[in-house]
């Protein structure tokens, strides 16, 4: 009996939270439409978010993308070369990096850096009365803090994903030159011949969706902090876990829709 009662409580709490998150997301999109009216105060937050999520993540993204591109080339040449199918390396690079890894790895880095930062910062703002300060001035915390962060994360994630693709491809070319020196122009023309419009569209769609999801989940969890600072790390962990689950699920669904249907 106790198990059923506990299960019912968890179900009720989860349903309430999902409904609250839905309302929060709806409010954020509604306020996104009027964001330009508050550019005097929200624009600085937006620029800071783009700088932090995008520009300051470049060294880590560069390192990861160059390494991933190189590793795929090394592994690919080893396996495909055995069967005399070396040219398939371009297909693998496009499929693995451009269609899949770039958006998901970039999203994971953004969750680790910016998702945690957003929920921690907003959580601390709640406990320090800063959210109340905004409310007392008539400023909506969703307009000022969430909308600008969401736009910032989407712009940064989109740009970082493109950058990741370019860096990974460049890394692939660098490493392939170790095995058999290859003409730069030939390498890229072969690579681009394997790319389709769907590859580009899917990358764009994923980065926008991931950016919206990460920003909304992290902001929601941060603002759900009630009074105690001990709630902040708990909410941050929750933000990270839920963001990862969201990104993986969304990735599976988008990939399935584009390539299987």
């Amino acid at each position: 009996m106790k198990v059923i009662v506990d299960f019912w409580k968890v179900l009720k709490r989860s349903t309430t939270e999902i409904f609250e998150f839905y309302l929060f997301a709806l409010d954020t999109f509604r306020r996104l439409l009027t964001f330009s009216r508050q550019k005097q105060i929200g624009f600085t937050v937006l620029l800071r978010q783009i700088m932090f999520t995008g520009y300051e993540a470049l060294p880590l993204i560069s390192f990861l993308a160059l390494s991933i591109g190189g590793l795929i080339i090394i592994q690919g040449y080893n396996i495909l070369g055995t069967f005399g199918q070396g040219d398939l390396i371009y297909v693998i690079l496009v499929t693995v990096v451009i269609r899949e890894l770039s958006s998901i790895l970039t999203a994971l880095i953004v969750i680790a850096r910016s998702g945690t930062a957003i929920s921690t910062e907003l959580g601390n703002m709640v406990t320090n009365n800063e959210i109340n300060l905004l409310l007392s001035c008539g400023i909506s915390p969703v307009s000022y803090l969430v909308v600008s962060r969401m736009v910032g994360v989407v712009v940064a994630l989109f740009t970082l994903t493109i950058y990741f693709n370019l860096a990974a491809v460049f890394g692939g070319w660098l490493f392939s030159a170790l095995f058999s020196p290859i003409n730069f122009r030939y390498f890229f023309s072969q690579l681009f011949s394997q790319m389709t419009m769907a590859d580009i569209l899917i990358g764009v769609l994923k980065s926008i969706l991931f950016g919206i999801g990460i920003a909304l989940i992290s902001s929601y969890q941060g603002l759900k902090v009630n009074i105690a600072s001990t709630e902040v790390p708990q909410r941050t962990i929750r933000a990270v876990v839920l963001s990862i689950v969201f990104v993986v699920f969304a990735d599976i669904i988008i990939t399935a829709l584009f390539y299987l249907i």
Partner: protein, 249 residues
């Protein structure tokens, strides 16, 4: 005639922990009230309900005939432009410098503001409170006493019709307390209304037209101070008199 500020049967809190119960009172324009009561009486929560931070569970708050939690963003903005809030501690946004903090409501409510005019006013108050050149610092870099005084400046430069102050003298030294009370009196004489949550006898003497006595989330009584004067004590509450407003200011 429509009241300047009116609360109708306001309730706030959880079922187990009701913080405000059936709060109803009104305030005419130009008049000021001090809300007093024991620390858990709900006076700070009441100020936050009026200040737009805690929507009441039931009941309504009206400002100049307009319900403060109803209407669209623009309606709420119009109300908030005329009501300022001073927190009991020096609350500022931690990740921007103090100048940006002071100008935040100005930029929001007056997007085409003239920075020169506001900067002159800010300079005047900085001189008045002897705060020196601190505006380029972040809040964490300045002492609490200065952060609290900057809260008052943020409220004053908006020239609001109603100022809500939670524990006006909390965390201030004696000299700052006197300066704050003098400035609050000046604003009051110019017609600004005040609602102040405090048990300070000095503030009551300087500011109160009415005394709203709260106990366990309810209004116990409302005393018209201009008619009956300020009581020395009500129940367990003894009204402190540290600054000596009448003698020294």
């Amino acid at each position: 005639m429509t009241d300047f500020l009116e609360l109708r049967e306001v309730n706030w809190g959880t079922v187990e922990d009701k913080v405000l119960m059936d709060i109803s009172f009104s305030l005419s324009e130009g008049r000021s009230a001090v809300i007093c009561g024991s620390p858990d009486s709900g006076k700070s929560v009441l100020l936050k309900v009026i200040g737009g931070m805690l929507p009441p569970d039931t009941g309504q708050v009206f400002y100049r005939g307009r319900e403060v939690y109803a209407g669209n963003e623009e309606d709420i903005k119009k109300v908030r432009r005329e009501i300022a809030f001073v927190f009991h501690q020096g609350v500022h946004l931690a990740n921007i410098i103090l100048r940006e903090n002071l100008l935040l409501p100005v930029k929001y409510h007056y997007p085409d503001y003239k920075s020169r005019q506001f900067n002159q006013e800010i300079s005047y108050y900085l001189d008045y409170f002897n705060l020196g050149n601190i505006l380029e610092h972040r809040p964490a870099e300045v002492p609490e006493i200065r952060r609290k005084l900057l809260n008052f400046i943020r409220a004053f430069i908006m020239k609001p019709r109603l100022i809500l102050v939670d524990e006006p003298l909390f965390n201030l030294d004696l000299r700052s307390q006197k300066m704050v009370i003098t400035k609050l009196k000046e604003f009051r004489q110019q017609g600004t209304s005040f609602l102040l949550a405090t048990n300070s006898g000095d503030v009551m003497k300087a500011m109160a037209d009415e005394l709203i006595v709260m106990s366990d989330g309810r209004i116990e009584k409302i005393i018209n101070v201009r008619e009956s004067g300020i009581p020395v004590r009500i129940g367990d509450l003894e009204f402190s008199d540290l600054v000596g407003v009448e003698d020294e200011i």
